[in-house]
């Protein structure tokens, strides 16, 4: 799935063209159109509900990107990623609410943006701590150590100590107007949406670039066969830990972003189920594909919402359908994972790749 064929009649004549992000005019046009849709179209058309759905898609993408990096590109299975989102969220909240920022920074509205960066670094370092066992163990045992991250971080450290800072209902209440970027107060769904889009684009670009670099190639080598990677001279432990750092960093950004959508934060926002959900996202989207992360997130959030929309017209005749929707949703989640594992183990990203190649090679797409 690594190669996308060039459209008929397109040729690369040098390495620069070969490594370009947007390789043809059509792709450039397509990406500009996508940006227009994302920055103008959706905010113009969508109401608060659909914007909040988009924000949830963005939050899922940001959360799942780190999981994709660890599982899909470095082969380190993680089942505790919600912990790093929690670290990011709590660090950013604490810094925004409690840290004595210089007045100049507060006036410039830089407290929250800086807190996102610090939160990401803290979450990255925290993730490295739980990645340390990966130097010795892998597979099933590594899954257990990452699960420990959830219980130690959320259920113990945050619940018992961090969330007690300042007393309940004081330290972690985020009244409207608390979150500010420059002169903009993040107080509506559309502002959260813009912030989400910028973060998703920045982090996706960063991850894709990392994957095109020596680091990315080392991760893929470790994923494919760590012994061979070591034989080739790759410092396996160092690169694994770096993968954990980057995954934690992205998770930290996701957590710090999510507080802009909330008015209060508690450990309940980061249940273990969310870690599992993120793994489901990349399984459905496609393991080992950044596109897959995005497709998986859209599928898991939007399709579930559409399913709910389909139930609403029936609710006047069968009111209990609405109440039972969560059962339907949970069942659909499990069923979707089973169906993808059986019928499309490469996920939605593979379908996207097939579709793109079909049109690129058209009319000779056989």
């Amino acid at each position: 799935m690594s190669t996308t064929f060039l459209p008929c009649g397109e040729y690369h004549e040098n390495y620069r063209e070969d490594h370009a992000w947007w390789q043809t005019r059509f792709i450039k046009g397509k990406m500009i159109a996508l940006m227009l849709v994302l920055f103008i179209g959706i905010p113009y058309v969508a109401d608060d509900y659909w914007l909040s759905v988009c924000n949830q898609v963005g939050y899922t993408i940001l959360g799942a990107l780190g999981v994709q990096l660890l599982i899909g590109f470095c082969g380190q299975v993680t089942l505790g990623h919600a912990a790093f989102l929690a670290v990011g969220a709590y660090t950013s909240t604490l810094l925004t609410l409690e840290f004595p920022w210089p007045k100049l920074l507060l006036d410039l509205g830089l407290a929250y943006p800086l807190s996102i960066f610090v939160a990401a670094v803290v979450a990255g370092i925290w993730c490295v701590l739980f990645g340390l066992p990966s130097a010795k163990v892998k597979g099933f045992y590594l899954i257990l150590t990452t699960m420990a991250a959830q219980f130690i971080t959320v259920d113990f450290v945050i619940t018992q100590y961090i969330s007690q800072i300042g007393g309940r209902g004081q330290a972690f209440s985020l009244p409207l107007g608390t979150i500010k970027i420059g002169p903009w107060v993040i107080d509506s769904d559309v502002k959260v949406y813009y912030m989400m889009i910028v973060l998703v684009i920045l982090l996706t670009t960063a991850v894709v670039n990392l994957l095109r670099s020596r680091v990315g190639r080392a991760w893929v080598a470790i994923r494919d066969n760590d012994i061979s990677a070591e034989v080739m001279g790759i410092n396996v432990v160092q690169y694994k830990l770096f993968a954990f750092f980057v995954a934690g960093f992205i998770g930290g950004v996701a957590g710090a972003f999510w507080i802009s959508n909330l008015a209060a934060i508690s450990p309940e926002h980061f249940p273990w189920f969310w870690s599992l959900w993120l793994v489901g996202v990349i399984l459905i989207g496609g393991v080992g594909s950044v596109h897959g992360t995005i497709f998986g997130s859209i599928f898991m959030v939007v399709v579930m919402e559409l399913l709910q929309m389909a139930v609403i017209p029936l609710a006047s005749s069968y009111p209990k359908l609405l109440m039972d929707f969560l059962f339907i949703k949970e069942a659909a989640f499990g069923l979707a994972i089973c169906a993808f594992m059986i019928f499309e183990p490469n996920g939605l990203a593979y379908r996207w790749w097939q579709t793109k190649n079909y049109f690129n090679l058209w009319p000779f797409s056989y």
Binding site: I158, L262, E305, A310
Partner: protein
């Protein structure tokens, strides 16, 4: 071919769902319930009660002739899910929302304030009772903090004087609850303040999960402190597990409980350990005799959920009825005054209620511009000899008039 037909049907249903909004002839009310999450042990019965009570309202004329259309979702006690569902209610033209948990209600509080959407929650957190901060958050019940203060006071007044050590030393109190749960932690500051006021020694808090089926280590930790009374802040399943372990390990303390941990299931689950447990219940128990509206509540339970045995129904049904009837009255008043919007429901509806009686065995409803605590008088029950019985009504406002106002909002 069949697959294509299915896709077309699905698309039509989605389009119908996306396009569905309120018609002028009906009043849309959203309800968020927990049937599957951490608080589903008490949430299922509450959800049934909501639907039954709305049916009763519609059978009695709806909102001045306009039927109430209830859109009820199970959100599994997941905060992000609640945020999206709230937006969906708004999109569907809801004029008010019947909410559930403390976490999501507090998370949504600024949004409902900005949207001017009355949010009548099953969370009775004291943090939501100050209209200066959360003007659109309401509930037809006394708040957790008042309940906690009242229950401790009732124990202090009725049980402590009979204790062998009365007059020789201070009574000892400790709290057992899930630290991470906004619901469970909501009244902790208040009950400790009340304990200090009454002259208690306060022991170390014990963290017990809402999902707990075993709390032996927490009970053993408490044994060193030897509490005379333990405050349980969780829901019934977890509270009964803790009380069973306290009984088995011979803790020897009395138990006072937050209201979501005290219902008909408590003696079923805790058996002998439930004897003597006390709590401030905000309403009567299901099928309790002598309560004016109770025959109606029971009739609608039988009519709309005949599959649920009557003996399995809980006081949660009655709590749901309280919130629905409170909101119904507010909507009728607002509609009669002219228009039915979030703002009029608050100002022309709730805020005009003075000592309004629901007939469900709870305190009467009074909402003012500066205080959304419905009453200073809190009924306290105990479970004794196989029955729930009212012990006393603690008049917090009458007993501590100088402090009552300062207790608002926490």
């Amino acid at each position: 071919m069949k697959a294509k037909a299915l896709v077309v049907v699905f698309a039509i249903m989605v389009a119908a769902g996306v396009g569905s909004t309120a018609s002028a002839a009906e009043v849309v009310v959203g309800a968020l319930n927990d049937m599957t999450g951490a608080t589903s042990d008490v949430g299922k019965d509450y959800a049934l009660g909501i639907a039954e009570a709305v049916n009763y309202c519609n059978d009695n004329g709806g909102v001045n002739g306009k039927p109430i259309k209830l859109i009820q979702f199970d959100y599994g006690y997941r905060v992000p899910e609640a945020l999206t569902k709230y937006k969906l209610f708004k999109r569907m033209g809801a004029v008010a929302v019947l909410g559930w948990g403390t976490g999501d209600t507090e998370a949504l509080a600024p949004t409902v304030t900005a949207d001017k959407m009355p949010y009548v929650s099953a969370s009775y957190s004291g943090h939501l009772a100050n209209p200066a901060k959360t003007p659109f958050n309401l509930f037809a019940a006394t708040d957790y903090s008042s309940n906690a203060r009242a229950t401790l006071t009732a124990w202090f007044d009725t049980r402590w004087p009979k204790h062998a050590d009365f007059g020789k030393r201070k009574p000892r109190m400790a709290c057992s609850f899930m630290f991470a749960s906004p619901y469970a932690s909501a009244p902790i500051k208040a009950i400790k303040d009340q304990a200090t006021l009454l002259g208690f020694d306060i022991g170390p808090d014990q963290d017990v999960s809402l999902f707990a089926v075993d709390a032996k280590s927490q009970v053993l930790s408490l044994k060193d402190f030897k509490p005379d009374v333990v405050w349980h802040g969780n829901t019934t399943m977890s509270v009964s597990a803790t009380m069973r372990d306290a009984y088995a390990l011979g803790l020897g303390a009395d138990h006072i409980i937050n209201l979501w941990g005290f219902d008909e299931n408590l003696p079923r689950l805790a058996e002998k350990a439930a004897e003597g447990a006390m709590a401030a219940t905000v309403n009567a128990f299901f099928n309790e005799p002598g309560i004016p509206m109770m025959p109606t509540v029971v009739e609608y339970a039988k009519k709309f959920n005949p599959g649920v045995p009557q003996e399995k129904r809980l006081s949660r049904t009655v709590q749901a009825w309280s919130n629905v009837l409170g909101l119904w009255e507010a909507m009728k008043r607002a509609d009669k005054a002219g228009t039915l919007t979030g703002e009029t429901i608050l100002l022309k509806g709730f805020r005009t209620m003075k000592e309004f009686e629901l007939g469900l065995g709870g305190a009467s409803l009074t909402y003012t511009d500066t205080d959304h605590r419905i009453s200073g008088k809190v009924p306290v029950y105990e479970y004794k000899s196989g029955k729930f019985q009212r012990v006393t009504v603690v008049d917090l406002k009458g007993r501590w008039p100088d402090k009552w106002q300062s207790w608002l909002g926490w």
